[in-house]
C-alpha cells in the first residue's frame, strides 16, 4: 500500500467513543428515581394521616407486611409457583407454535398462502373474549389458564417472526449466494440473524400478553395462583393482599422484560455499532 491509502479507522473509532459517553451520568440516573419514591412516601403519608381509608387502599407498609406474613406462611410461594408454571408452559406452547408457523409462512410461498390468511383472521378475535367458549371446551382447570396464555403469546410471536423473515434485505441473501452459501447456510447466517431483532420484539410483546392472559385466567375461576390469592383476599376485604398481588404481577412483568432485554443486548451486540454511527 502506498502512502495514498490513509486510514480513517482511528477517527471513526474516536467518534463512536464520544457518542457512547453521551449516556446519562450517574447523578441524572438517580434523579429518575426521585418521583417514584416520592409517590410511595406520599401514599404512605396519606394512609397514616387517614386520608386514604385502609379498606379502599392499604398503606405500602401494610402491603409489605402482608407480603412478609404470606411468605413466612408459605402461601405466597405456593401461589407464585403455580402462576409461574402456567406462564412458562403457556408461553412455551404459544411461542413455539408462533415461531413454527411464522417461519413456515415467512419462508415458504405455499406456507404463506395456506397459513397466513387463517391466522390473520383469528388475530382479529380478542382472545380474552374466548373465555366463555374455552370454559365450555376445556373446563375451568389448568388447561383454561394455559390455553389463554398460549393464545396471548402466539400472535405476537407469529406476526413478528413472519415480518422479521419477510423484512430481510434480499440483497444480503443474494450476496450470500455469490459467496457460495447453500440454502441451509443462508438460513443460518442471513435469515435467522436478520430476523432476530423482530423475534425479540415479538417475545417481549408475548410476555406482556401472556401475563395479562394469566391475570384474567386466574381471576375467572381458580383454586391456586396469584389471581386466586387476590380474589380470595377480596372476599375477606384484605385490601393489602390484593395490592400485594398487583405488585407481584408488576414485578414479574418487569423482571421478565429485564431478562429478555439483557439477552437481547447480548445477542444483538452488532446493533450497538449501528446506533453509534
Amino acid at each position: 500500500m502506498t502512502a495514498t491509502s490513509v486510514r480513517p479507522a482511528r477517527t471513526e473509532g474516536e467518534r463512536t467513543r464520544v457518542r457512547r459517553n453521551r449516556k446519562a451520568p450517574r447523578a441524572a440516573r438517580w434523579r429518575r428515581a426521585v418521583t417514584p419514591v416520592l409517590l410511595v412516601v406520599v401514599w404512605e403519608g396519606c394512609s397514616r394521616a387517614g386520608i386514604l381509608p385502609p379498606d379502599k387502599l392499604s398503606a405500602p407498609s401494610d402491603v409489605l407486611a402482608a407480603g412478609w406474613r404470606l411468605a413466612a406462611e408459605g402461601t405466597l410461594w405456593v401461589n407464585l409457583v403455580d402462576s409461574l408454571l402456567r406462564a412458562v408452559i403457556g408461553l412455551a406452547v404459544g411461542g413455539g407454535l408462533g415461531l413454527a408457523l411464522g417461519s413456515i409462512a415467512g419462508l415458504l410461498r405455499i406456507g404463506d398462502d395456506l397459513v397466513d390468511p387463517p391466522v390473520q383472521m383469528a388475530r382479529m378475535l380478542p382472545h380474552l373474549g374466548l373465555v366463555p367458549l374455552l370454559l365450555i371446551w376445556v373446563g375451568i382447570g389448568e388447561p383454561l389458564k394455559i390455553t389463554l396464555v398460549a393464545l396471548g403469546a402466539f400472535f405476537p410471536v407469529y406476526l413478528n417472526t413472519y415480518s422479521g423473515i419477510r423484512g430481510i434485505d434480499e440483497r444480503l441473501v443474494e450476496a450470500a449466494r455469490t459467496c457460495g452459501l447453500s440454502a441451509a447456510a443462508r438460513l443460518r447466517h442471513v435469515v435467522l440473524p436478520g430476523a432476530l431483532p423482530s423475534l425479540f420484539l415479538g417475545l417481549r410483546l408475548a410476555f406482556g400478553a401472556g401475563w395479562l392472559s394469566l391475570v384474567v385466567g386466574e381471576q375467572v375461576n381458580a383454586d391456586s395462583g396469584l389471581g386466586f390469592m387476590m380474589m380470595e383476599a377480596r372476599e375477606f376485604a384484605q385490601t393489602e393482599v390484593v395490592v400485594l398481588g398487583l405488585v407481584i404481577y408488576a414485578l414479574l412483568g418487569l423482571l421478565s422484560d429485564l431478562a429478555l432485554r439483557t439477552l437481547e443486548g447480548r445477542a444483538l451486540a452488532w446493533r450497538r455499532g449501528l446506533e453509534a454511527s
Binding site: T4, A9, T16, R171, E174, A175, H189, G194, G273, S277
Partner: protein, 256 residues
C-alpha cells in the same frame, strides 16, 4: 453449442473445447426481456484469462442485468453462459452482513484450517488490517467497500464481477479504490468485468471497453494505452471523446 434452449439459460461448466480454453467467460446469445421490453438482445461476450473488460452504457441499458446473468443471479434469461474457475462479485453497495464482524464477513462460506490467516491477509491487502474485529456499521462507506473487495479477493477468483463498485463513493475515495483495484489486479491477475457509467474509470482500468446500447454491444474497443495511465495523456483524451460521443454525451455545453 449455440443452443438457445427454450426459455432457459443453459449453463455449461468448465469449457472443454479448444476455443474456450483461455476464456473465463464465454457467453452466447444472451437475451433478457422484462415483459415486452427487450433489455438484452443476443449478446455474445468472451472474457479471456486475466482480462479486464469494462462495460459502459447509459443507465437502464442492461449493464447490470448482463453482469447478474453471468453471476448466475438471473434465472429469467435465455442463452448460454460458460464460465470456468471461481467467480466473485462486488456490488455497488457493500452488502456486508451487519451481524457479522468484518473478518467473519470476509470468511463467509469459506472453510479451511488457514482461514484466519487468509482473512487477515485479504484485509491487509485492502489496507484494513486492524479492522477485523469491527462491526460493518462502524466502518465508513469507503472502508466497507474495501471489505467487500477483500471478501471477493479471499475467494481467489478467476473472474471478478464488479457492478458499479465505486459509484457510491466520494470522488477521493473513488480514486483510491481505483488505484487499489489496479494494484490488486496486478498481483492476483484475475479477469474482471467492470460495469460502470464512468468513462474515465473504464479508460484507467480496462484492457477492453464494451458499450451496450439497445440491448446489443455497439462498441468493442481494446485499450492499448500503457500503464500507468494518465487522464492528461492526449491518446487518453481522444479515446475519451470518442466514447462520450458514442454514449451521446455532449462534449461542450452548447452542443446539448
Amino acid at each position: 453449442m449455440a443452443a438457445r434452449s427454450g426459455g432457459e439459460l443453459s449453463e455449461a461448466a468448465p469449457a472443454a473445447d479448444a476455443a474456450s480454453d483461455t476464456a473465463v467467460v464465454d457467453a452466447r446469445g444472451i437475451t433478457r426481456a422484462y415483459g415486452d421490453r427487450l433489455v438484452l438482445d443476443g449478446i455474445d461476450l468472451r472474457i479471456g484469462k486475466g482480462e479486464v473488460v469494462a462495460l459502459l452504457g447509459a443507465s437502464g441499458s442492461g449493464k447490470s442485468t448482463l453482469l447478474r446473468i453471468i453471476a448466475g443471479l438471473d434465472s429469467g434469461a435465455d442463452g448460454e453462459v460458460r464460465t470456468s474457475g471461481h467467480i466473485a462479485v462486488v456490488f455497488q453497495e457493500h452488502r456486508l452482513l451487519p451481524w457479522k464482524r468484518v473478518a467473519d464477513n470476509i470468511a463467509l462460506g469459506l472453510r479451511g484450517p488457514d482461514l484466519a490467516q487468509r482473512t487477515a491477509a485479504a484485509l491487509a491487502e485492502v489496507g484494513l488490517a486492524d479492522r477485523g474485529r469491527a462491526w460493518p456499521a462502524e466502518l465508513s462507506g469507503g472502508q466497507a467497500q474495501r471489505v467487500a473487495l477483500a471478501r471477493a479477493l479471499v475467494r481467489e477468483p478467476d473472474l471478478l464481477l464488479l457492478d458499479e463498485p465505486f459509484a457510491a463513493l466520494d470522488a477521493l475515495n473513488r480514486l483510491r479504490m481505483q488505484a487499489l483495484f489496479f494494484r490488486l489486479r496486478d498481483e492476483h491477475d484475475f479477469a474482471a468485468l467492470l460495469v460502470t457509467h464512468d468513462v474515465n474509470e473504464a479508460l484507467l482500468l480496462a484492457d477492453r471497453l464494451l458499450v451496450l446500447e439497445d440491448g446489443r454491444i455497439a462498441e468493442d474497443t481494446a485499450v492499448t494505452l500503457p500503464h500507468p495511465r494518465a487522464q492528461d495523456d492526449p491518446a487518453f483524451g481522444a479515446l475519451r471523446r470518442h466514447l462520450l460521443t458514442r454514449l451521446r454525451v455532449p462534449l461542450l455545453p452548447d452542443q446539448s
